[in-house]
Symmetry: C2
Subunit: 260 residues, 2 copies
């Protein structure tokens, strides 16, 4: 996850002190996904859980629907290539060159963003106390992020605990790693909760709806489109869960709180 | 830049207080760039300085070299479309479908990342005091970021002041807006300084080298590849300029500090 690099640290005080030290920087890795021996995409990512990332990416892009669509996955870590073979029955979206969409941050380049919506179906209810507890566990697990300021985290949770946790330099990748792990281990996501350290743009909401996840919690801010889309897709969106407060943006019926 | 949305704010204390208020969320806009009437890409971005963004994007992708390559630019803000016509003499990179590269965060989807390098040429020297001052001005200008936690900033500076400043939900977009403005106004970037609020991944270093910018300053962390690339391209990379300290990662000869 990290490299050590020699740096010079300079302090502001009037003597302009400096010192030479070694410091951690977060690792950036390039992973090329070959789908049925054809190069699909290269992702810049953190060099962990690369199979999960590749599968989660394919899922998020709508290229596989589940584990049953997968014939083989072979990772060559040294080459930075993952070869994925798809089962014959799998319906891979074909056609012309896909539209290029570039996200605001962590943006994805392949699939169009505002299509294929169906609403999330779930009547899970969670309390604010449970949300604060989950965020506390999440931040505890995300200590790397705190240490280097360079890593995003994502977690799939039930009301009590984090079930799957991933980190990546990209907030999209972190979520895709969670999804890839759920896919390979056949873990359900219905009626579950997703926590992300990153901003909730429309792309993130679009990703979460595909796994029918009803509650999306972020340490950070949503965008206006993220809020609008969560509203439309019946996702309960909670942002800025920090310290002593949180903001409920949409579909508050799933939160058991004392009405104002 | 913002929308007001109704939210419910919940506090952690034992009474589980809540209140309904209006809160700002950052706006997310979709801008489609048509190049010579052919759809090139859709960017998710903040809805300001869209012509600059489009031009800076084309520049960063190597599709235009300067203002002289530009015949016409027409923005239709309502439709979220910018039509750009390129001068006949301009050498637009043609060929097959470009490789898809998806950045870690704010990643771009068109051009390959690690090509076309030439080293930055500049022997500008700057003092730590000037860097702290520039960062102070930068943070002052970036108050929106502080307020909503959802916006990145970028600035082109000389040793004394910020010359061009932009904000966007994407850290790449913020830099492209700066470049687009420089392009249209024929502002030089040689011997200048770029400040970014965001993480310095290899993609960001790759962007900055194209404008021959010798000093890259970030409020945040670099990645290992960002550091390596800055080293290779002779860019002075400075990170974590926060409060009372900063980290020099590469080519410290351009910083006039007291050696340890």
């Amino acid at each position: 996850m990290f490299d050590n690099v020699p740096i010079t640290r300079i302090y502001k005080d009037s003597n302009a002190k400096s010192k030479s030290i070694n410091d951690k920087v977060v690792a950036e890795h390039a992973l090329t996904i070959n789908l049925d021996k054809k190069e699909l995409v290269t992702l810049l990512c953190s060099p962990e859980k690369l199979e999960y990332l590749a599968l989660g990416f394919l899922f998020s892009e709508g290229l596989i629907k589940g584990k049953e669509d997968l014939k083989e996955i072979v990772l060559d870590e040294n080459q930075g290539v993952v070869e994925i073979a798809i089962a014959e029955h799998a319906n891979i979206a074909k056609g012309g060159e896909p539209k290029r969409l570039i996200g605001s941050s962590g943006g994805r380049g392949i699939s169009p963003p505002f299509l294929d919506h169906y609403k999330v179906k779930s009547e899970i209810i969670i309390t604010p106390g449970e949300i604060f507890n989950l965020m506390e566990e999440f931040i505890h697990r995300s200590e790397i992020f705190e240490a280097t300021g360079g890593v995003h985290s994502a977690a799939l949770c039930n009301r009590q605990h984090i079930l799957v946790f991933s980190e990546d330099i990209g907030r999209h990748n972190a979520i895709d790693k969670v999804f890839g792990e759920c896919l390979l281990k056949a873990l359900p996501t219905d009626d579950h909760i997703m926590i992300t350290s990153g901003r909730v743009s429309s792309e993130i909401v679009n990703k979460v709806v595909k796994r029918n996840i009803p509650i999306l919690i972020s340490k950070s801010a949503p965008t206006n489109r993220g809020v609008k889309l969560a509203e439309d897709l019946d996702i309960t969106l909670i942002g800025f869960v920090r310290g002593e407060r949180m903001n409920l943006y949409t579909h508050t019926r799933r939160i058991a709180y004392n009405k104002p």
